[in-house]
Structure formats: structure tokens, C-alpha cells
């Protein structure tokens, strides 16, 4: 099982410092939530952890090995990435898109067409989009597209799953459903890193939270430690209160 670790990672574009000395560790069996205001560097950190970009300073390792030492094909069998939005301008069906998630296993000797079909059907059932299978992907609504893209990530069957705001376009039911799925994957041994806008989803489902602000780690730890009213109010420049969730065993963040 594979851990993803960023050590003192910085990322600079021109004179803009997007990330500065960020140390984060995502471990198997846990959901790590990345939270923070707009422009805090959440997506950039996710891109570094996915191996999309090289850190300007510091390092990113997957399973103890520098992530850039892996080939694209090797990485594709180790980590799956859900982008904020999937834009497809050609009329593929939803099922075609999910089937693309099986590509990394295309050449595996123990893979087969039957296994691909099984995994695709399973992933689409899990993300509640089986009935969209034969619809044309670009004609789906934003939330439907997200669920199909999510199924593609699950069909890829990787030990590491990185997601950039998977819940942003989803209705409340599908938000909760998606977070439960991620938690299940983690409990089954996967390493899950998820960027979230909604602090309460992080509070309810993340094992660890990292609060980013201005490209730095403002706080990291269990949700009860990170979700501190004073810290959040200062970071988001918005007065907030944190109370015990009346129906769940976790904190509840309120805008005051």
C-alpha cells in the first residue's frame, strides 16, 4: 500500500509563490482532506501529489520513491486523479468514459475484457450512474458528469485516489454518498486525498485535515484539532463558530 508524502514542497510560477514549504503525508487507510480559502494552493498541492507538476523546492514521494521516477504507465496503476471538471467535446457515452479508466490495466496479463466490464459496471453502480451508461457524456448535467468521472477513477482500481473538489457540483445526497464511498475505499486500504470547499464534509468524513492558507500549512491534524473557530475565522476572514454536531460524532462549523 502506498503513501504519498510532500516534504517541504514549494511551487513557484514566475514571481508568484503558490506553495511554500508544505509538508503533508497521506497514508493508506485514511481520508486526507485539503481545505482552505480560494487561492490557498489546494489544487496545486494535489497536482504535486499527483506528479502532474514538479515541486520547485522540496520533494514529493510515492511509496518512498520520488514521484517523478515513475513512468506515466506505472503511475497510472498506482494513483487515480479526479480533476475539477472533465471536458469532453466528442460524443462518447458515459460508459465509454468510465471504460477509459481501465486503460492502465490494458496490458496486464491477468486482466481481461470480462474483468474490465465487471469493474466498469461495479464502479458505475457504486457512484449511482448505471442508468446514465448509454447517455452521451457531453449532454449530461454537471453533477451527472462528476459521478461518471468518479466512476472512471474507481474503475482504475488504484491504491491512491486524489480528488479535486469532487462534491462541488453534487446535490446533498450525492455529496454524502460520495464521501461515504471515499471513506469505504480508505477503510479497504486506499490512500485518499480530497480537496474540499465544504468544511463540514471534511469534519464528518476526513481522518486528517490540512488547512492551507497563502500557500502554507496553517494547521494539520484530526478535524477536531484543525477546525478551531479562531483559526478558521482568521484564515477565511469570516467569523465562524465551531460546535458539536447534534447528530454526528464530529464538529460542526457555523458561519456566525
Amino acid at each position: 500500500m502506498a503513501a504519498v508524502t510532500a516534504t517541504a514542497a514549494g511551487f513557484t510560477v514566475g514571481s508568484a509563490v503558490l506553495l511554500n514549504g508544505v509538508t503533508v503525508s497521506a497514508v493508506p487507510g485514511q481520508v486526507l482532506g485539503l481545505v482552505g480559502p480560494n487561492g490557498a494552493g489546494k489544487s496545486t498541492l494535489l497536482e504535486l501529489m499527483a506528479g502532474d507538476r514538479r515541486p520547485s523546492t522540496g520533494s514529493v514521494e510515492l511509496d518512498g520513491r520520488a514521484i517523478h521516477d515513475f513512468s506515466a504507465a506505472e503511475l497510472a496503476r498506482l494513483r487515480a486523479v479526479l480533476p475539477q471538471q472533465t471536458v469532453v467535446q466528442f460524443p462518447f457515452t458515459a460508459r465509454d468514459v468510465v471504460m477509459m479508466g481501465r486503460h492502465p490495466h490494458h496490458a496486464d496479463p491477468d486482466n481481461s475484457n470480462e474483468r474490465d466490464h465487471e469493474q466498469v459496471a461495479e464502479a458505475m453502480a457504486a457512484t449511482d450512474c448505471a442508468e446514465l451508461a448509454h447517455r452521451i457524456f457531453p449532454s449530461l448535467s454537471g453533477g451527472e458528469q462528476t459521478r461518471v468521472a468518479l466512476a472512471r477513477i474507481f474503475a482504475q482500481q488504484t491504491p491512491v485516489i486524489l480528488l479535486d473538489e469532487p462534491t462541488a457540483t453534487l446535490d446533498v445526497h450525492h455529496q454524502e454518498h460520495t464521501m461515504r464511498l471515499l471513506q469505504e475505499r480508505a477503510r479497504a486500504g486506499a490512500t485518499v486525498v480530497v480537496v474540499l470547499q465544504d468544511l463540514n464534509l471534511g469534519a464528518a468524513y476526513a481522518d486528517q485535515l490540512v488547512l492551507l492558507a497563502g500557500g502554507r500549512v496553517a494547521a494539520a491534524g484530526a478535524p477536531t484539532e484543525v477546525l478551531n473557530a479562531d483559526l478558521l475565522s482568521a484564515t477565511y476572514r469570516q467569523t465562524m463558530r465551531v460546535v458539536d454536531h447534534p447528530h454526528r460524532d464530529c464538529p460542526l462549523v457555523l458561519v456566525a
Binding site: D52, T86, V87, Q89, D96, M100, A133, I136
Partner: protein, 350 residues
């Protein structure tokens, strides 16, 4: 109506039978018809005779010469050029994730014409009949690289950037060809300016050979990238996440496209719209999967250009209409119809 897969599956069954029947018809038609008509039965008799089979169909030496030495090389050239246009149009649309990419629209054809024109102006030297095609390849590759570098921004190719880059590059290349014709007073260049309009009149077996080799390499190798092109349609980052070595695939596909277009344009000039019509027509019938669209567009491109060349030779007989003129005349309106239809069915293109 919500578009779904059932309709596509039903239509897809007809794709290959229809394409192959059309191909057979255009092949026989091109060999049989012209200023001098040879019956379809005699055409088959002549072809089989050259294969060493006598089926007892009588034909005159004149009929044999017309079919074997005039029409067959022209047929092979037109078919190859059409196939290359269909395949490279498909590949470029996939590579740039952009339904409007086409060798002519993004300027690769003009680059090839300039490259071939330079070789014709200074003389091919030891390269012989391969000089023009190789010059075309270099010109096409240079333009492909320029368009690629200029039209992309943060891993995306925007439609407007792509088309405008093509317009600018085409304008420069066309002006440079015009300048060449002033600077070099050469009968070779007169020929060059003639083919620039798109024509198969120069087809001889000698001229066909380089297209057969270079275009053939392009046609045989492009389908190996079908899966990667499918994944690229999800986006570059997404393709990389799924294990595609994006830089390598892009370089290989652009080189193969330049090879095919370079050889085709050097020999037959610029023939427009086929690179758009063939893949779009196939996608309407069979959906966007490159594993089907690439080979089917190859055949569809050949059928389109063969039909256009037959029309070019016979409509105003005994004079001949430049074939590039016909593909644009017929292709432009058809493409507008395709645009509307596709837009209605699948929504706007960004």
C-alpha cells in the same frame, strides 16, 4: 430526444458494408469512365490479365494502356491522398481535442506545399522523385510544430487560436510560394503552381511510388495510436493520469501526419475539406471511438477523393476541373450542414 447509444449501435452495423461497396464502385468507376469509356467488365479483365489470370474478356491494347498506364496510377494516387487526408484529419482532431482541426485549416498543407515548392525550385538532386515529398514532409512538420507551439495555452488548444494560427501560417506559406515563382523562373515551378490548386493529372507510376511509401507508412502506423487518441480526448492531464506518454504520442502522430500530408501535397497539391468531411461523417454514423473512426475515415477519405476525381474528369469532359475546386464546392456546404446537425445533437463546441 436524448442521444443514446442504441441508435449509434444500429447505424454502426452499416458502416463497413456501405464504405466497402462505395469504395468498390468508385474504383471501378474511375477505371472505366473518362474521355474514353472502357466497360466495367473489360476493366476487370484487364486487371486480372495483369495478375496473370485470363477470364476470356477481350480488350484492345489501347484499352489496356488507358486503364493500366493512365487511370490506375491516377486511381492509386487519388485513393492514397484521400485516405491520408481522412486519416490525418481524424488524428489531428483527436490530438488537438478539436473538431475543427484539419491539415488544410491549420496550415500543415500550405507548409507542405512550400517545402515541396522549394525543392522543385532548387531541383531535387539525388533525391529524385522523393525530393518533392520529402520537402513537403519537412515543410509540413515545421508548420505542425509552429501551430502546436502557438495555439496551445496551458495544455489546451483553443479553437480560435488554432484556426487563426493556421490562417497566419497559410498566408505566410502562400506568399512565400508566390515569391518563389518570381525569384525563380523555372518551368518546374510552373508545374508546381499548377498542382498547388489540387490535381491528379501528374500521376504516373514514378510519381505514385513515394506517396505509396510515405503515405502508406502514415496510414499503417496511425491506427496504433487510436487508444491513446481516445484518452487524449479526456484532456492531456487526464490522459497522463491514465498512463499515456503524452509528449511521445503527440510527437509521433505529428511526424506521421507530416509524412502523409507532405507526400500527398507534393504530388497532388492541396485538396481541401476531406480531412473534415470523412471523420465527421464517420463519427455521425459510428460514434467517436478512434479504433473505428481512424480506419473508417481512411476508407471514407479515399472514397470521397475518388468520387471527386471521377467528377473532375467527366463532368466537363473533355476539359478537366481541378479536383480541389470540386471538394471545396461540394465539401463546404456539406460541412456547414454537418456543423448544424452535430451541434443540435451534442451541443456546442468550445
Amino acid at each position: 430526444m436524448r442521444p443514446d447509444r442504441a441508435a449509434v449501435t444500429a447505424r454502426r452495423r452499416w458502416l463497413w458494408p456501405v464504405l466497402l461497396v462505395l469504395l468498390a464502385f468508385t474504383i471501378i468507376g474511375n477505371l472505366a469512365m473518362g474521355a474514353f469509356d472502357v466497360g466495367p467488365a473489360k476493366v476487370i479483365g484487364i486487371l486480372l490479365d495483369h495478375a496473370g489470370v485470363d477470364i476470356g474478356i477481350e480488350f484492345s491494347p489501347q484499352e489496356n494502356a488507358v486503364v493500366w498506364s493512365l487511370r490506375l496510377p491516377r486511381l492509386v494516387l487519388a485513393g492514397l491522398v484521400g485516405a491520408v487526408l481522412g486519416a490525418t484529419g481524424t488524428a489531428l482532431q483527436g490530438l488537438f481535442r478539436n473538431p475543427l482541426a484539419d491539415p488544410q485549416i491549420i496550415g500543415i498543407s500550405s507548409g507542405a506545399a512550400l517545402g515541396a515548392g522549394v525543392v522543385l525550385a532548387i531541383g531535387p538532386g539525388v533525391l529524385g522523385s522523393f525530393g518533392g515529398p520529402l520537402g513537403g514532409f519537412v515543410g509540413a512538420l515545421a508548420v505542425a510544430a509552429i501551430v502546436y507551439l502557438f495555439a496551445r495555452y496551458e495544455g489546451r488548444t483553443e479553437v480560435v487560436n488554432l484556426v487563426l494560427t493556421g490562417v497566419a501560417v497559410s498566408a505566410v506559406a502562400t506568399a512565400a510560394i508566390g515569391y518563389l515563382s518570381f525569384a525563380v523562373d523555372s518551368s518546374r515551378l510552373q508545374t508546381a503552381l499548377f498542382w498547388f490548386l489540387g490535381s491528379f493529372t501528374l500521376a504516373t507510376w514514378q510519381a505514385v511510388r513515394p506517396v505509396l511509401l510515405l503515405g502508406g507508412a502514415c496510414l499503417l502506423l496511425l491506427p496504433f495510436f487510436a487508444r491513446q487518441l481516445n484518452l487524449l480526448l479526456l484532456g492531456e492531464a487526464e490522459a497522463r493520469h491514465l498512463g499515456v506518454d503524452v509528449e511521445r504520442v503527440r510527437a509521433m502522430v505529428l511526424v506521421l501526419v507530416a509524412l502523409g500530408i507532405g507526400a500527398g501535397v507534393a504530388t497532388a497539391g492541396i485538396i481541401g475539406f476531406v480531412g473534415l468531411l470523412a471523420p465527421h461523417g464517420v463519427r455521425l454514423i459510428a460514434g467517436p471511438d478512434h479504433r473505428t473512426v481512424l480506419p473508417a475515415s481512411t476508407v471514407a477519405g479515399a472514397v470521397l477523393v475518388l468520387a471527386a476525381d471521377l467528377a473532375a474528369r467527366t463532368l466537363a469532359s473533355p476539359t478537366e476541373i481541378p479536383v480541389g475546386l470540386l471538394t471545396a464546392l461540394a465539401g463546404g456546404p456539406f460541412f456547414l450542414w454537418l456543423l448544424r446537425r452535430t451541434r443540435a445533437e451534442y451541443g456546442a463546441w468550445g
